[in-house]
């Protein structure tokens, strides 16, 4: 068990180290901040794309056209079955007449071209909206597959190509975030490891004396690990600050409406759990970098 005097000793050593080699610590924190900034940037893009997708979700609908031969009683039970799908938020039955009226309305002044035709030429349909959690390309395709297998449903339409492309963009962002983030993470660990190595070498004589007079390994290691943690947290704080600045300055330059894409108000800064992830990553990077370096260099003595 560590005594209070030893804890105070560790804290004093950390503070002293930050005073004595301030710029080295700042540089290491800065390096971590760059890594976390890039990772956080991708996270921000990904979150906003997902946010947009959810926003558009109410407009992403599946149209299931009923076969003309389906009797009215069967339509009821079909609607009940479809409504029981866990993915479905709501579905609306559009009768042939409703579809015909809507079609005529959409033609406006040119609706005269429909003269002589009857409402029976358009099939009745189900307009289906999915729950927010299922508004992805994969989930959509799965629901469509099940709808196509339903008796009484003929054709099923949904914005397949568009959803596929959007899904690919989202996947690309996610991959870039983790691959690039992974490389940067490894590179940053190396940098932190080297900073700690330099710190250990700079204090080699002190560490040797401490070992010779009976200091426990924990007491020798703890200040370096604590320094790594503080550097990591500082780096994360710096990254979040820069991301916020960038987000604010970019969004303030956008027009209030982005046309069919979104409203400016729909763009959001990182969610609390993403912020926690960034801070946690900074903490892990700092701690891990120090521990790995200590394992390598303290063994020798």
């Amino acid at each position: 068990m560590m005594k209070w005097a030893q804890i105070a000793f560790i804290v004093r050593r950390v503070l002293k180290s930050f005073r004595e080699v301030f710029w080295t610590h700042l540089l290491t924190s800065g390096t971590m901040a760059v890594t976390l900034f890039i990772f956080g940037g991708f996270l921000l893009i990904q979150e906003n794309l997902q946010g947009l997708l959810k926003g558009w979700g109410s407009r992403i609908q599946i149209f299931a056209y009923l076969e003309t031969s389906v009797p009215a009683a069967d339509t009821e039970s079909l609607l009940a079955r479809v409504n029981s799908y866990p993915e479905i938020e709501r579905s609306r039955f559009v009768s042939q007449k409703e579809a015909w009226d809507g079609f005529k309305r959409s033609l406006g002044s040119q609706s005269g071209v429909l003269e002589g035709l009857s409402a029976e030429i358009l099939p009745a349909s189900l307009e289906i909206t999915l729950k927010t959690a299922y508004r992805s390309h994969g989930a959509l395709a799965e629901v469509v597959k099940r709808l196509r297998a339903e008796k009484g449903i003929g054709e099923v339409e949904y914005p397949e190509e568009w959803m596929e492309k959007f899904g690919l963009v989202l996947l690309g962002v996610q991959w870039a975030q983790w691959v690039l983030g992974g490389f940067l993470f490894a590179a940053t660990l190396l940098i932190i490891g080297n900073t700690v190595k330099l710190a250990i070498l700079a204090r080699k004589d002190e560490i040797e004396i401490m070992q010779l007079v009976g200091a426990r390994r924990l007491l020798i290691k703890a200040p370096f690990v604590l320094e790594g943690m503080v550097q990591g947290l500082l780096g994360a704080g710096l990254a979040v600050l820069c991301l916020w600045q960038l987000f604010v300055s970019l969004t303030s330059q956008l027009p209030a409406s982005l046309g069919i894409l979104a409203e400016r108000a729909q763009l959001q800064f990182l969610a609390p759990d993403s912020l926690l992830l960034l801070v946690g990553l900074g903490w892990v990077m700092g701690t891990l970098g120090s521990l790995l370096s200590l394992r390598r260099f303290l063994k020798r003595w």
Partner: protein, 226 residues
Amino acid sequence: MVHLFTVSKIYPPSYPALTDIQLDIEKGEFVFLSGPSGAGKTTLLKLLFREEEATDGQVVVNGRNVARLSNKGVARLRQEIGLVFQDFRLLARLTALDNVALAAEVVGMARRESRRKAFHLLRELGLKDRHNAKPPALSGGEQQRVAIARALVNDPLLVLADEPTGNLDPEMADETMRLFAQMHQRGTTVVVATHNTGLLERFHHRVVLLQQGRVAGGRKECPAGV
């Protein structure tokens, strides 16, 4: 206090530093480890505070088999041992007071108490007015006294000194030896490794003579003038 049972130490690839050492040092004894350079004096001391491990045999210090100690056990063992080196091993950027206090702080003594004790020791060793000086500003003798104060600050049961007078003039060397004698009189076990035969003639403690890594003789403690 110290028992070595047929201890050998071979440095890689195959350099025998110590061979079949059998040695007992009782609590409160003062022992000189003597012999020419390369005889194995430093290696023997290093085995006692587990800086090195014996290749063969057993080393027991204060009832503990040092080979079986965990990291924590080694730390605890070293807290009971005061170490003094020929090159003093003081931290140049710390004052004399801080050098001594550091040794007490790392084993858990409160900062104020460790500084108070360090100052008390430095005053006893005649460095009252030099406690704020850093090692480069101190003479060899003063530095060695700071190192001795550091060795004593945790009230060790055993003091190991490796050529403590090697860098000192004869007068300062004798002064340093008198400090070790004072520790001995207070009941501390003292082991001093030296190749300085003059010291052995002037201070009449037990001598263990090492030659080529083996115990090659010695003398029992004898009263002055014998």
